[in-house]
Amino acid sequence: MAETFSVRRYLRDLELPFCQGCGIFTVMNTFLRAIHELGHKDLSKIVFCSGIGCSSWISSPYFKADSIHTPHGRSLPVATGIKLLRPELNVVVFGGDGDIAGIGLSHFIHAARRNLDVLVIMVNNMVYGMTGGQVAPTTPFDTKTTTTPYGSFEHPLDAARLAVTAGACYVARWTTAYPNELRESVKKAIKMQGFRFIEVVSQCPTAFGRRIGLKSAKEMMKWFKENTISMEQAEKQNEEYWTEKIVVGEFIQRQRSTLVENVYKVIKKAQKIEED
């Protein structure tokens, strides 16, 4: 009989710091369930990197694993160094929308371009939650936040479509209302090579929901569900749908030569030229 799943197996014995109703609990649980279903009894073959923000605390230090908690937005450069020198290890990056798509956006694009062999899980709560609810590059247009008291006047970024354009091998977006689909995506992506990106639209009732009239996790998830459409549906609609709705599904799955493959080929080439 298969062993029953318990998150505790993978967690350090520490109290979790997240607010009541936070979507991070779903992401954490779903990720670890995927790991369990893949047959990993521990996290010893995975190195976690994360930046600054609530979702960067998912792995650091709560996962009983090697976890590197970097400066804000800089998880991917650190992950690059680790993966290039320890290619046998699986490198997983957790971060929020501010961390990955705000301050760290350049690293994100370049990591996808290089096809760095890492899985990035971006928890998108559409706001800077840890600092109290400021506008993010992912905040929907005309939304009130603490730094946009009259409504935000900037258009949000679609990090998933950007990852596709930049060269990622696997891109998917789900919301916390789709834990099963998210789990299957994690299982698929963690076994692949190259740059993989999963965005999870997640509720922050504390710093975001309550300011837009959605006071609880339940209300926020209801809002997600009512505003979610599938990739297939979105493709039939005009461009506005992509920003007005949460488009979920698998955006791409493809093979490209990866950074690790290419770097080690160059080492062989350099050594061969030297011998000749």
Partner: protein
């Protein structure tokens, strides 16, 4: 192909730095192009794959140090190289490397700043930034080469210090030492002292405390190491509100360097116990000292000098010794008095400190200019 063989070579400073790094065991380089440091990246890109290492050009200087830090936690000695503008961008990660006790080497080939300044011209304006550039209370180890030979030997030493003290080390070079060509003697690799970081034993868990310099694990080897730039306890667990944990951590991180100043701080000195005029100099500026001493002595002037090979931690003791005999201490610098006040502080009122500064256009302070100041001090006291 292996690292460079014992021989004498005619190298550019940047090339000597790259070869020194490889001798020290560096097998990862990440950098971003910038004048006058680019030749280090170019040389590493050519040579590192030949010895089985990796060189990668990152999207910016922040990413470059980030990748270097990742490599270090993967158990590999790693380096980056830049100049002033890039060094400014790296400050974030330099603080992180200090806080997480990540050994790595950062080369800053100084040019004339601030900002873009004069990209191809020499300057020494990053002296204080190399000490205080990142935020918070920290201690830096900064080395200052004054020849192509020292671009080689001090790079090796930079790695050894980084590995010994588990901390980032800065090689504060300058455009002159990095771009000129000189003869370099490479010793037998077996006779070169190479230090490697101490690794933990199975079952050890305190990678961030208990000892002054704790052992450092490699990721993926089962130690479940939690690395964070936030204040953390001995086991790496974040502790962001406890004053005791913070005082303890920051105290230890600073003490491991400040308690070992006499082992770290290195200098060359001449006639410090019997001189009337003293000179304290470092980097390319110090190259004027030898001719100045010769000429001054011909003129019957009692002159002595201290040439700093380590800027930080500052070798106070030798400066005080110089101040005990010298009436005046001249501090020639290619900046606007960055090291002057540190010398003044160490001299502790025992000698008068006199600045000699020159900036712009990459113009060095010549032996004639230094000699003129020496003679003036001799005459007027």
């Amino acid at each position: 192909m292996d690292t460079i063989k014992k021989d004498t070579y005619f190298w550019q400073g940047n090339e000597a730095c790259a070869e020194g790094a490889m001798i020290a065991g560096c097998r990862f380089f990440a950098g971003y192009p910038i004048t006058p440091a680019s030749e280090i990246a170019e040389h590493m890109a050519k040579r590192l794959p030949q010895v089985g290492g990796i060189a990668i050009q990152m999207e910016d200087e922040m990413a470059s140090v980030g990748a270097v830090i990742g490599a270090s936690w993967a158990g590999v000695k790693a380096m980056t190289a830049t100049s002033g503008p890039g060094f400014s961008l790296m400050q974030e990660f330099i603080g992180y490397a200090f806080m997480t006790e990540t050994p790595c080497v950062i080369v800053d080939v100084q040019r004339a700043g601030p900002s873009t300044g004069q990209a191809t011209k020499c300057g020494q304006g990053d002296v204080m930034q190399s000490r205080w550039g990142t935020h918070g209370d920290y201690s830096a180890i900064v080395l200052s080469p004054n020849s192509v030979q020292e671009m080689f030997t001090l790079t090796v030493r930079a790695f050894n210090l980084a590995e010994s003290y588990r901390t980032p080390v800065i090689l504060l070079a300058d455009e002159i030492t990095a771009h000129m060509r000189e003869q370099v003697t490479v010793p037998r690799i077996k006779s070169t002292k190479i230090i490697n970081r101490r690794k933990p034993k199975t079952g050890e868990r305190a990678f961030f405390g208990l000892e002054e310099i704790p052992p450092m694990p490699v990721v993926g080897e089962g130690f479940n190491v939690a690395v964070t730039g936030s204040t953390h306890d001995e086991y790496g667990i974040r502790s962001t509100a406890d004053p005791i944990v913070h005082r303890h951590l920051i105290g230890r991180l600073n003490n491991k360097i400040q308690n070992n100043v006499n082992k770290i701080a290195d200098f060359e000195s001449y006639n410090v116990d019997d001189c009337k005029v003293g000179v304290v100099s470092y980097g390319c500026t110090s190259r004027a000292i030898y001719e100045t001493v010769e000429k001054a002595e011909e003129n019957g002037i009692k002159i002595g000098y201290v040439r700093l090979k380590t800027l930080w931690p500052f070798p106070e003791r030798i400066i005080k010794r110089l101040a005990e005999t010298a009436e005046t201490i001249i501090v020639p610098e290619m900046n606007l008095k960055q090291m002057l006040y540190e010398v003044e502080r160490a001299a502790d009122g025992l000698a008068r400190t006199v600045p000699l500064n020159k900036i712009g256009g990459g113009e060095l302070i010549t032996p004639e200019e230094l000699l003129a100041t020496v003679e003036e001090m001799e005459r007027n006291g």
